[in-house]
């Protein structure tokens, strides 16, 4: 339908919802001054029960681990869908040379960018691994650390150029990494059932609060999520960047 018709329809819908919106905002509790029963329960109990100091990680991987399992498989599904769409359409005949638009030369990589990326890419990768490993102690976790590791791989591309980067980053390896991450999470859910506990129950020894090895099953699920997210982001970047290459017929 036409753009003006769409806007008129949206305006009419907004007007119809306006009394409801005003009512809801008037009845919402005061910002910052209302009780948080679930949050306080977790803040009070998690350190004693699971020996972790990062409450968000405890909620993500232990108390609400089932939701995180769903989210991780959503991520796996989205990445798989993207890969199927892009790889299926592209086929096998892409080369290493970048595709050109008519009339626009491709600028060469500048030395400043290469130097800065060569310095910062290992730092960022190390930082990402640190964020993943300290999930239960300080702010961090599998999702954040995986995203940071993905950004580190992106800096590698910016610093080295496409050819060298593709030799470093093999897509078969990262396919396996991502799938392994999801598999680890699923197995960490089923393993307690072998020993008679419930699905995703924390049966490993909990360790000392504040030590790097603490939290029991949180370590395993956290590692699974980190592998899946890092592998997923690197795979997405590889696929999107490979889209920008010429096909082999054009190169000839």
């Amino acid at each position: 339908m036409k753009r003006d018709a769409r806007l008129a329809l949206a305006a009419a819908a907004a007007l119809a919802l306006l009394p409801g919106i005003v009512l809801v905002i008037a009845h919402l509790p005061d910002f910052g001054r209302h009780p948080l029963p679930y949050g306080e329960a977790i803040n009070g109990a998690a350190t004693r029960e699971r020996h972790v100091t990062n409450m968000v990680t405890a909620v993500n991987f232990d108390y609400r681990g089932l939701d995180t399992l769903g989210e991780e498989f959503m991520l796996l599904g989205a990445v798989t869908g993207t890969l199927v769409l892009l790889r299926g359409r592209r086929g096998e005949n892409v080369s290493d040379a970048p595709a050109e638009a008519e009339g626009r030369p491709i600028p060469p990589r500048s030395d400043a960018v290469a130097l800065a990326c060569r310095f910062f890419a290992p730092v960022l990768l190390l930082f990402g691994i640190y964020v993943v490993l300290h999930a239960q102690l300080t702010p961090g976790g599998g999702f954040q650390g995986g995203a940071i590791i993905g950004s580190g791989a992106l800096l590698l591309y910016l610093g080295e150029g496409y050819r060298i980067w593709r030799r470093l980053v093999r897509s078969h390896l990262f396919d396996a990494v991502e799938a392994t991450g999801a598999l680890i999470f699923a197995l960490a859910g089923w393993a307690p059932m072998i020993f008679g506990a419930k699905f995703l129950e924390n049966i490993l020894p909990l360790g000392k609060t504040g030590a790097l090895i603490s939290g029991g099953l949180i370590l395993v699920t956290n590692a699974g999520v980190a592998l899946a997210v890092a592998g997923g982001f690197v795979l997405l970047m590889v696929e999107f960047l490979e889209e920008t290459r010429t096909t082999k017929e054009d190169e000839r």
């Binding site: 638009a101 961090g140 954040q144 982001f233 970047m237 999107f240």
Partner: protein, 81 residues
């Protein structure tokens, strides 16, 4: 309502508006990156460091890169028919 929190909330509203009103996709990638940084600052002010980590890594690095790569492919691709 502290001044910092109110200013960051208004700043986030402004940067979100900027993302929508930037019609050209190549410029919008940069607007999305700025929006990511502003949102990360807002999440830090709301005492959520974990969320700020995610937002910075995703909003400033991953999403703008994907958008720019797709725009490059759109410019150099030839449609099928």
């Amino acid at each position: 309502m502290t001044i910092l929190l109110a200013a960051l909330l208004l700043f986030a509203a402004a940067s979100g508006t900027g993302v929508v009103l930037t019609r050209k996709p190549r410029r919008q990638a940069l607007a999305i990156a700025v929006n990511g940084v502003v949102l990360a600052l807002l999440f830090m002010a709301l005492q959520a460091p974990d969320v700020a980590y995610s937002e910075i890594a995703v909003g400033t690095a991953a999403v703008p890169l994907m958008i720019l790569a797709v725009l490059a492919s759109l410019k150099t691709d030839r449609p099928e028919q």
